[in-house]
Symmetry: C2
Subunit: 168 residues, 2 copies
Amino acid sequence: MSNLMYSMSVPVFVRMLGNLSAILDKGAAYAEAKKIEPAVLLNARLYPDMFPLTLQVRIAGDYAKGAAARLTGNEPPKYEDSETTFAELKARIARTLEYVQSHAPESFQGSDERDIELKIRGEMRRFKGAHYLAHIVLPNFYFHVTTAYGILRHNGVELGKADFVNPL
Amino acid sequence: MSNLMYSMSVPVFVRMLGNLSAILDKGAAYAEAKKIEPAVLLNARLYPDMFPLTLQVRIAGDYAKGAAARLTGNEPPKYEDSETTFAELKARIARTLEYVQSHAPESFQGSDERDIELKIRGEMRRFKGAHYLAHIVLPNFYFHVTTAYGILRHNGVELGKADFVNPL
């Protein structure tokens, strides 16, 4: 029996967060080559009231760890949100990946029907696992990974679609 | 039996493309209110060698119609790529939504194991349906919807995350 709740979540997070980590490497290398203070890129935004790069990276990972936890009946671990350098953001991604991969594929069986409760804008809401993954986790996860990419791209870091989406 | 290949694809496209259509409305209204030539927004990019808004919208829809077709064993319809106005882009989204919704949920049953062939950068590749949806369709679909949002946001259109991701 196929285990789509697993294959639509964990391997997706592993691939995309791995790519995001490599994208951050390119951002850090660009800052060094151009003698740009890394904080300039880390605090860059596409618009003043959007989140800066640092938060885009943190939040993307948080959707991944939240999903791995909740779909398997666990409480997501809390991280401190104290990262201020490329290296610290990469360490957070690595820690997130370790957590996400610590859940056996079998523990996702049947999670499409699992009741997931979460607080959204101060209100407790309940969703089935399939809805939570398809309509909350993945859109938000991809929103923040894409926006992180867009921020660096907009600031001149040489990235291409392949950095976002490879390997196929 | 749950039908995750359907629920992870068609309803996702319907919701996100509907939101994208409403986001374009806000872009068009903003252009009018600020007396900005709509083409300025339609041709806006986050970086000179990235695609402009018009292409982001077209390509997002193409991943949706491609998925609805291929996962159900059909050939994706070809559209002309001639849109140059907000109204024409919205009409293309509407046409895409009609096509995507024309496939019965039952026709997605078992599509996780279906062989999907597609040409990527000139090379014929074969993927299982689940891999195609999780690792090709969804990342690219979300990339282009998010980038369309980001382009308008970067140009001052008053949008918030809820425009992207609601209703929950």
